[in-house]
Each structure stands twice: as C-alpha cells, then as structure tokens.
C-alpha cells in the first residue's frame, strides 16, 4: 500500500502558512475559559487533605472539627466514602486506583479526605482541621532498595540484536558509564481543576485533561453509569505536558463529592498537590556500554535503564526504547526495568522515557568521541542509520543528515576547537555541544466530523484538546485547505467528549491522527456534495468522482475543465439542503501496510554554553535546533513548540529536580519558588530550522513536534559543559557545585 501524500492545492496555500494562533485573541483578553474558570449556580468548593507519610496506615482520622466548621457541606474519608469501581485500562495502562477505599497509605501526598464547603476559604480552613493519626512503616524510596519489586521488560519494548557482549569485548575502543536523571515535575502553570455536576444519573465534568475521550469511559466505569451519561469538557487547558493523560484521583473525588452533596463541586489543586497528584517524570538510573572501531564505527551498544514507578500504579516510561534504532550498529541490547516504590505516582512528562534515555545515550556517544579522538558530529554521521536497523526496513522519512548539515552550518560547528577547555571569552569558558535526537512515531485511531451549512461555512470538530500545541489553528488550516474554503469560513472545535472520539494530546501523535481524520472527513464531505449532484445533468459536476475534482475557491471544480465548477453555496441552494455532514476516521498505517519503518521526528541540537571559570555559573548562550518533523502545518506555531520544548530541556539539564526527604519521601521543594524552572532571563537566543519532506505514513505527511524540541537538549548541554570545562556531569541537573 502506498499512501498518497496530499499537496497544497490552493492558490494561497494554507498548509504550512504561519498564520497566527486562532485562539490568541481569546487568550490575550482573558476570555478563554479554563476548567478552573467554570462557575455554576450553587457551586460548592472542595479542598483535598493529603497523607504526610509515604507508607503505613491510618490509625484514626478525626473529622469532627472540620465537619463542624462554618460552611462545611461534607467531609469524605475512607471511613465514609462509597466504594468506587476500578477504572478500565487505557493504552497508557491501568487507571490510577480509586481513592479513599481503605486505610492503607502507599505514597506521600495520597488523598485521605476531601472537604467540601460553600466557599473556597471555608473549605481550605476546614481541611486544616482534619486530624490524622498514622501508623507509619518504613517506605521503599530508592531505586537501589533491594526489597523493592523489579519488573523486567515492563513495557515490552526491550530489543536485542547480534551478540553484544562478544562485540563489546572485541572492540578496539570501549566506553561505559552510569547516568542518572532525577524526578522532574510537569508543573503546567494551570492548576489542575475539575468541576463536576450531576443531574440524576448524568454527569458533566469540566476537567484539565488532555484526553476527554478517555475520561468519559473511565468515569462511567468507576461510577457505574452508561458512557452516554458522561460529558467531559476541556476547551482550554492550562498546559499539561503529559500530566493530563490520566484520570487522577482528584477527578474521581470531585465527582464523588458532587454526587454526595447533590450539588456541583469544584476542586482546584494547590501547587504542592500538583507535585503529588498528577504524575511526574520518574527518576532513572542507566548504564551505557559502547564498543567501537578506531574509525568510529559502533560495534556494540548496551543500554540498561531502571525507572521508578508507584507501588500500585502503572506508567509507560520506555527509557531505552529509542536506542536500538538510533544508530547503524549490528549488536545492540536495550532494556528497561521498573522498580516499585512508595513514591508519588509517576506519569508522562514531555518525551517520557526518551528524554532520560537520550541523555544517557547521547552523553555516552560524546564521551566515546573524545575517547577515540573524533569530532562528536563526525562520529554520529559515521553511524547514521540509513535504514531502520532493527527491522531492516526503509524509514518512512529520515532527514537526520540534513539536520546535521544545516544545524552545524547555522550554528558554526566548524569553529569548535577539538579539545575541552580550549575556547574562552574573558572569564567565561565557552563550550560547544551537540546531540542527536528522535522521538518514536505514534498514532492512534481518531474520528472527526464536518458540517457544511448552506451559507458555505464549515464546522469541523473532534473530542481532541489543544493544550497550547496549536491544534485549533492547524486543524482549521487543514480543513480549509481540504475543503477549498477560505479560513474565515471554517471553524474548528474540540474539547468536548460528545464530539467524535479523539486520542490524547500526547506522544507527538495527535496531529497525525486528528489531521488524518479531519482530512478524511473533509474529503468525504466533498464526495457527499458530488453525490448530491451526481444524477443531475444540469449540474456542472454531475457524474464526477473525487478523483476528477479539486476543492478550491469555496467550491469544487473539475480537474479537466476548471470552468465546470459549483460553489458549495450553489450546490446546497439548488438542492434545498440546509447542511451536509460527513464523518472521517483515521487508523494508523503499519509497517506491514506500507513497507516502511514508521519514523518519528528527528533532530540535531547544537548548544553553546558559557561557564564562569571561577564561579561555575552556567549560562546557555544559544541553541540551534534542526528538526525533521515531516510536513510542518504551521511554521510559526511549530517553531513555538520546538522552542518551548527546548526551554523544558534547559530546565531538565540545569534546574529541575524534585527533591524528597531521604527515608521519609516528603516532597521537599513542592513550590514554584523551590522547584526551579527556566525563567525568561535563563533563555538565550534560539534558532529552529525545519528540514525534510512529508512523511510517508499518512496522507498529511506530518510527524508531530510536541516532544522533539526537548529531546537531546540535556545531552547537548552536558556535552557543551564538558567541552567548556573538561568536567563530565553524568547526573542531572548540572549545577554549579559539580563544576567547582
């Protein structure tokens, strides 16, 4: 099967055009309504109470003072909460266990009560009156804890080829080292909020989710009501970076509270609760072994990763997954292990697994380059994987070479002195570093619907979300292009589970899935219009098939004679139609279908750092990111995506570490003053270059750029810091004390 990739048909091509974000005006005026902004008649407010220990049980919980406090409507604990069913499995794993079901504590910050009151002030004050007496036990907190359960090949992604140990032993040059990455916390600026309202057995939930089509069946199962009785709304979400991919316990508790008091309830998490209740990037310990020939050819790659996971929850964090396809190397072993601990449940955070795995692999490749005495970029070029090395199939697209070439050129890589500590600007040691990056291809089934009205405007929708990624904008562009309508005639809407099902905004997979569904729906709509006129010989387009026509200029014309055309308005008026609706769906193509190995985005990242020779201060001076993201639907917004990912990568490299008290597990820096994220003054000049061609796995040719901006930045910075200082930091974050 060959997938035909669409080409831009309009005289003024809409695909690729850097139009402004269509939701911009609502967002700059404060009019965009996020879940926390929802107000309803008779709304009550809830505040959650969290456990202060990491393991043990609740001996006694005293809610009398809280219940007696002014304005309090209900206090739910494990003692009086109704039983809630276990949620269903999603493609990301089991739904987090329902809260308040027993007296056991398995993580710090686990919810032990929800207090509902008339006002937020009353709820917050009453929540502090709940007294909990714990029987604490010794929690499992460290990856190295021998008592912890270890899950081998937990994601089914371990890959082997060749004979790694023999190839490593025989290699001219051998390198091996361990790398660690700490827990990071997503910290979207938007505090996660849920507003739940019951009317009889029907439930409406406004929620900071990245996946309404998952929240709906999950809540239906947990509360024992039909899916048709649940509606989930998320038209605007204040960021997520993966935190909104699951139905976390606060959502369930809010729904439960609303059912209990028979009134709508709003819960807005506090910032400290954002550290314990909605997932985070788990810490990892990795070991990389590389064997190479003197000319730089890789002979063996061995990459082992261990990642923490909560005691009773799932998380997909395939850290070494990308290693097997990163380089042309005959002997590779890449494997993961998950370690069950009494930690706050990890979840997805921008480029889950890959962010950490790439740091270790690309740091090690850099170290190998110095061991051989070879330019790190030249070493990567020498091991470029012309075909996908695990399957032996051609890539569906791969412009990594162009990323190397154009990125290096723009950055001025040739000016790099080979030796560390050889470049200096006054008191600043200057370092150049780079890293190669990819993020795995991902696509899931998706549906979309389009309705064309007699006035010639189209309304396109799907239950997707736009968490700042630009979905509203690019889907409007794509629909306008496919229907041949001007932008002002197309509305794209999302964020409502009653719309056709969409996969999550996550895994860099939404644009390809939703874009393909929108494309299919719009093509089906054109076909429906042709069906309307098919037997009417007075119609210019009678007896035309989809292949005979082009949609353009607010109508349809024949390819063999552009004079044979009708506008949509004419077709509908002549046939007395109020509107025409068409559905579209997309399913992921497989490598068996296409004969290609599905390729995610590729990138080369080039970074200049400056390190104060005396003080160890680290400043990122500039970043060049060369990205192969397939077809870019909107270069302005895609550039923002990549820059945003880069900012996250700088945070991961230099600032971010969720710290917890040893032996206790309390998160010790759970505020935005203590958990450092990159601020405006930390961010240098950046350039983003898009290279490559449309990808061959879908008709729209996109690959998604949500994660690729982040991947590789931590390694490129670590490599640049080594080049500047001669100090290799293998444990993130790279703080100045490591350099003194």
């Amino acid at each position: 099967m060959t997938i035909e990739i669409i080409e831009s048909t309009q005289t003024y091509p809409l695909i690729g055009a850097g139009i402004d974000r269509v939701d911009g005006p609502l967002k700059v005026t404060g009019a965009a309504r996020y879940p926390a902004d929802v107000d309803l008649p008779n709304l009550a407010h809830a505040v959650l109470v969290r456990s202060t220990i990491s393991a043990g049980k609740i001996r006694r919980i005293d809610t009398a003072s809280a219940e007696a406090a002014a304005g309090v409507l209900a206090v739910l604990t494990h003692v009086n909460a109704p039983r809630i069913a276990l949620g269903p499995k999603s493609p990301l794993g089991q739904t987090p266990p329902p809260p308040l079901q027993d007296d056991r504590i398995v993580q710090y910050g686990q919810y032990v009560a929800i207090v509902v009151a008339e006002t937020i002030e009353q709820a917050a004050a009453a929540a502090r009156l709940v007294q909990v007496d714990y029987e604490a036990t010794d929690p499992l907190l460290e990856l190295s804890d021998a008592r912890a359960i270890r899950l081998e090949n937990p994601y089914g992604t371990d890959l082997q080829r060749g004979n790694v140990s023999a190839a490593f032993d025989a290699a001219d040059v051998k390198f091996e080292a361990g790398y660690t990455t700490p827990a990071n916390t997503n910290n979207p600026l938007g505090l996660f909020a849920t507003v739940a309202e019951w009317k009889g057995d029907t439930l409406t939930v406004h929620d900071a989710t990245q996946w309404p089509s998952n929240v709906r069946p999950t809540l239906a199962t947990m509360f024992g009501i039909p899916e048709s009785g649940v509606r989930v709304l998320a038209p605007y979400v204040g960021g997520g970076f993966g935190a909104g991919l699951r139905v976390w316990p606060h959502v369930v508790l809010t729904v439960l509270a609303a059912r209990t008091i028979g009134r709508p309830v709003k819960t807005v998490l506090t910032r400290p609760q954002m550290f314990t209740g909605i997932g985070h990037r788990p810490n990892t310990a990795q070991h990389v072994k590389l064997g190479a020939a003197r000319d730089g050819r890789l002979l063996a790659i061995d990459h082992a990763g261990a990642e923490s996971v909560a005691l009773e929850d799932d998380n997909f964090e395939a850290t070494t997954w990308g290693t097997a396809s990163a380089y042309a190397c005959a002997n590779v072993s890449a494997r993961d292990q998950q370690v069950r601990l009494n930690i706050t449940a990890p979840g997805s955070m921008r480029a889950p697994g890959t962010a950490q795995g790439n740091f270790a692999l690309e740091s090690a490749i850099d170290e190998l380059a110095y061991a051989i005495g070879m330019d790190p970029l030249a070493l990567r070029r020498a091991n470029y994987a012309e075909i996908e090395p695990q399957s032996g199939l051609p890539w569906s697209s791969n412009a990594l070479h162009a990323c190397y070439d154009e990125g290096a050129e723009r950055f001025g890589w040739s000016r790099r002195a080979p030796q560390p500590r050889a470049m200096r600007d006054g008191r600043w040691l200057v370092g150049y570093g780079m890293a190669s990056a990819t993020y795995p291809w991902y696509q899931a089934p998706c549906r979309a619907r389009v309705t064309l009205s007699r006035d010639g405007t189209a309304y396109v929708r799907s239950a997707a979300t736009d968490i700042g990624t630009g979905t509203y904008t690019v889907m409007k562009q794509l629909a306008a292009e496919t229907l041949g309508l001007t932008l002002d005639r197309v509305t794209f809407d999302l964020g409502d589970s009653s719309m056709p099902d969409s996969p999550q905004a996550g895994g860099s997979g939404l644009t390809i899935a939703l874009g393909s569904a929108v494309y299919a729906a719009c093509r089906n709509l054109v076909e429906k219009c042709l069906d309307v006129v098919r037997r009417d010989t007075r119609e210019p387009l009678h007896d035309s098939s989809l292949d005979d026509v082009t949609a353009a200029d607010d109508g349809i014309h024949r390819n063999d004679d552009a004079q044979l055309r009708s506008s949509y308005v004419e077709i509908m008026a002549r046939h007395g139609l109020e509107d025409v609706t068409a559905d579209g769906e997309s399913t992921p193509a497989t490598q068996e279908d296409t004969g290609f190995a599905p390729a995610g985005a590729f990138a080369a990242k080039f970074v200049e750092v400056r390190v104060d020779a005396d003080l160890g201060l680290i400043r990122v001076a500039r970043v060049v990111s060369a990205i192969d993201g397939g077809r870019i639907l909107n270069e302005k917004l895609a550039t923002s995506q990549v820059i945003g990912g880069t900012v996250g990568g700088i945070g991961m490299a230099l600032f971010e570490e969720t710290a917890s008290d040893p032996g206790i597990g309390r998160i010790a820096n759970a505020t935005l003053a203590d958990y450092l994220v990159a601020v405006n003054a930390d961010i240098p000049a950046m350039e983003v270059i898009f290279v490559g061609a449309p990808d061959r796995m879908s008709p729209i040719g996109v690959k998604g750029v949500g994660e690729i901006g982040l991947v590789g930045i931590a390694a490129a910075i670590a490599n640049a810091v080594y080049h500047a200082t001669g100090v290799r930091v293998r444990d993130l974050p790279i703080t100045l004390d490591r350099l003194l």
């Binding site: 402004d20 974000r21 939701d23 911009g24 005006p25 967002k27 700059v28 005026t29 404060g30 009019a31 309504r33 996020y34 926390a36 107000d39 003072s65 809280a66 406090a69 002014a70 304005g71 309090v72 006002t119 937020i120 002030e121 009353q122 004050a125 502090r128 910290n187 979207p188 600026l189 938007g190 505090l191 605007y236 204040g238 960021g239 997520g240 807005v268 506090t270 910032r271 700042g468 990624t469 302005k636 917004l637 923002s640 995506q641 820059i643 945003g644 990912g645 900012v647 996250g648 505020t671 935005l672 994220v677 990159a678 601020v679 405006n680 003054a681 930390d682 961010i683 000049a685 950046m686």
Partner: protein
Amino acid sequence: MTSSRSAGSGSPIPSREFAVDPSEEPAYPRADAVAVALTLTVNGREQRLLVDSRASLLDTLRDHLGLTGAKKGCDHGQCGACTIHLDGRRVVSCLTLAAQANGRDVVTIEGLGGADGALHPMQQAFIDHDALQCGYCTPGQIMSAVACVREGHAASADDIREFMSGNLCRCGAYLGIAAAIQDAASRMREG
C-alpha cells in the same frame, strides 16, 4: 490550643473586625468567616462587596466578580499568573488580601483593552509574536508586561528578560514574550 496561636495575634487586621472575642478564639486556623465590606474600583467601575476576611483579591475577582482572566498558578506569589494592576502598579493578586484593595483602583486583563473592544498594543503584540501557547500565564504576562514598559524596564532585551522573570511560562514562550514587549513598548511610547 494556646492563645499564643490565636489568629488575632500579629494580624494586620484590627481585632474589632473579628466576630468573636479574641480570648475565645478557636484553634488556629479559624474556620469561621468574618465578613469585610469593601468598596473598590475594578476596570473603571465601582464595586461594593462583602467578602470573607481571608479572601485573596484573586479569588474575589474570580469568584465574586466573574473576572476569571487573572489565573491562579501557585497562590503563593511565585508564578505571576495572577498579576493585575493595583493603583497602576503590578501586584500578584493571590498575595493581596481583598481587604487590602479597599478604596483602591484595580485593573485586570479584562479592563486593559479599549472600551470599543480594541486590543491593547501589548495584547496585539503577544498574538503577533506568538508569545503564548496554552495561554494560562498570558493574562499575567501581559499585565506584567504593560507595567514593565511603564516602569521604564523595557529599554533593552536584557532588561525585559530580567524584569519579566517573575512571570513563569511553562510552555516556554519566553522568546516571543520578550519580542512582543520590545515591539509593544515602542508602540506604547508612540501612543
């Protein structure tokens, strides 16, 4: 609970405003509301409110006046998402008690544009430079940016980056934000 932990001690609010005798204070924290009457100007309109003495200006704007443009990102004055103008100066409204705004002039993102709905040059510049993604920090960024220009802290790109570093953007739109402010600063000076 000992009297040394009563809510009245050290409080900036005069004890006469408490509903009960401070000597009979319940355990800290107080769980009962004390109503405070306020008169303040919000976006040019006088508002008379009766609020909980513990209410922040942010929650009051959002929950009582329906002005949800100012956002809660931390409730601790650490992220800047709730930035508004109080008597013309940028403040984090989450760390401002509503009672402190009595008799004062408040401008929120909803009051920044022209009466005809025209965007303020800063709002337009944020769109032009794609200085936002999820948009949650955006109202606070814009209110902070307008004040930054008025304070004279937008003379250079480095100044802007420094004086806008109290407004976090987790989507990482900082380059666009700095560019938008540079652009709007010149238009604001002309205007």
